[in-house]
């Protein structure tokens, strides 16, 4: 992870060893945050596995906050999906 930007509100994170898998899902979670003015990611070159992930916030919020919130929200989503999936699986097995 490497942060770079003009002031605390617009930051570009360079995430190494990542691609669309995390990039797109994280972008979606960060975009759902009403404090974020701009969020996007791009893969600098397909031969290198790193992505540039940029967040710009409205107002004076430091950009690391939506990034952290996005990661936590994504973890929450995955946890809920996992729980729901396992519950449904066990229900199916018991119902058989």
């Amino acid at each position: 992870v490497q942060a770079d930007g003009t002031d605390g509100n617009c930051v570009t994170f360079v995430l190494h060893d990542e691609d669309h898998t995390l990039g797109n899902s994280l972008r979606y979670m960060v975009m759902k945050n009403p404090d974020v003015e701009f969020c996007g990611y791009c893969i600098t070159h397909p031969s290198e596995s790193k992505i540039n992930f940029r967040i710009q916030t409205r107002g004076a919020l430091p950009a690391v906050e939506p990034f952290r919130k996005g990661l936590n929200d994504l973890m929450g989503v995955c946890q809920h999906v996992l729980n729901t999936f396992e519950v449904r699986l066990s229900e199916g097995l018991r119902g058989l």
């Binding site: 669309h20 929200d73 999906v81 999936f85």
Partner: protein
């Protein structure tokens, strides 16, 4: 009148928000647009509770090696992330290094090694570690050793005139069942009941003739599909969106028959109402959307073909190493692991 117009406007924004419409020449409303600020009057900011209420998983069909399930209420980005992880980042064990002691068969060494690498090995990858970079020998916690030692010989009891190779030779077909596990170090104690072997016994590796033999030792390591496709645990993992077919006007008689033929069998059913044949959408889920309707001018404007944006029908087919439900759980855990990794890095960075 203003109220009717407002209702129509709301219906069209609802359509834009949750349907992907297939027009005659293109697909509309492809991208997710429900981000906060885009639609006045809609609550779009992320709310875990609202997500949990709307989200559900339905297991449709669960077979030996295949699983079909529905995920409703999730977005394309996350569904795609699960699909990508299932294909490329769930680890498995596969043959990586082949030590060739003797190979006098027709199959070249490298071709033989390539074929051996692609054989799925029934070994739970969660019991093993990744091999360290630069470690050539392999320890018992990260390597499985297999041996393939087979020699073809002539059958002295075969009839003089027979030309059937099954009769004439012994061991002329090398199958994956001839691969035997050679425990390393304390693996017999670590895995007392384990039976490590290829998933399928009848994979043909090579053909031999009398006098030819193959004697190789194989090291299996843990890897992911991103590195080499042999490590991919799924035959394939795919998803499609739930189809949504609406008839904009009532369709009757001959037009109804023609409509039924335009879709996959079972999608449109014809009912007899007051002597007239009326078409009705019975089960839109079965349709494969060949868009045959658009070829008939008379039927083109009577139907709206769309897909429900947040209803994903996943189909996961495993190669047999791990059952498909375990694979899906592992994939979700891997995505969580990725997020956790970055959260840890964020916490360890000095805050400027």
């Amino acid at each position: 009148l203003a109220a009717v117009a407002a209702m129509a406007a709301k219906r069209s924004t609802d359509e834009m928000r949750d349907r992907v419409v297939l027009g005659e020449f293109g697909v509309r409303n492809v991208h997710t647009t429900d981000f906060p600020g885009n639609y006045p009057g809609y609550e779009d900011a992320w709310d875990q509770r609202r997500f949990e209420e709307a989200f559900r998983v339905d297991i449709i069909r669960e077979e030996e090696g295949a699983l079909e399930f529905d995920m409703v209420g999730i977005d394309a980005a996350i569904a795609n992330a699960f699909r990508r992880i299932l294909l490329a980042e769930v680890p498995t064990m596969a043959v990586e290094k082949v030590f060739v002691y003797n190979n006098t068969s027709i199959v070249q060494d490298e071709i033989l090694a390539h074929r051996l690498g692609l054989i799925p090995i029934r070994a739970d990858p969660r019991l093993f570690e990744y091999r360290n970079q630069g470690d050539e020998e392999g320890t018992e916690i990260d390597t499985l050793q297999f041996q393939l030692k087979i020699k073809c010989s002539r059958n002295p009891q075969a009839a003089k005139e027979s030309s059937d190779p099954n009769e004439l030779y012994f061991n002329h077909k090398v199958y994956s069942k001839h691969m035997t596990w050679v425990p390393l170090g304390n693996q017999t104690d670590l895995f007392p009941d384990a039976d490590f072997r290829p998933v399928h016994d009848d994979i043909l590796i090579a053909l031999l003739r009398p006098g030819q033999e193959i004697d190789v030792l194989m090291h299996c390591v843990k890897g992911i599909g991103k590195d080499h496709a042999k490590f991919s645990p799924v035959a394939t993992a795919s998803y499609r969106l739930l189809p949504d077919i609406t008839l904009l006007q009532p369709v009757e008689d001959e037009a109804a028959e023609m409509l039924q033929k335009c879709f996959s069998p079972g999608v449109i059913e014809i009912q007899n109402i007051k002597g007239k044949k009326v078409a009705r959408v019975a089960n839109a889920r079965l349709d494969t959307f060949s868009r045959e309707v658009f070829r008939h001018d008379s039927l083109k404007n009577l139907v709206r073909l769309a897909r429900v944006r947040n209803h994903y029908i996943f189909s996961v087919e495993s190669t047999g190493i791990l059952p498909p439900d375990v694979l899906v759980s592992e994939a979700i855990k891997i995505l969580m692991g990725k997020c956790q990794r970055f959260l840890n890095e964020l916490d360890s960075l000095p805050m400027e």
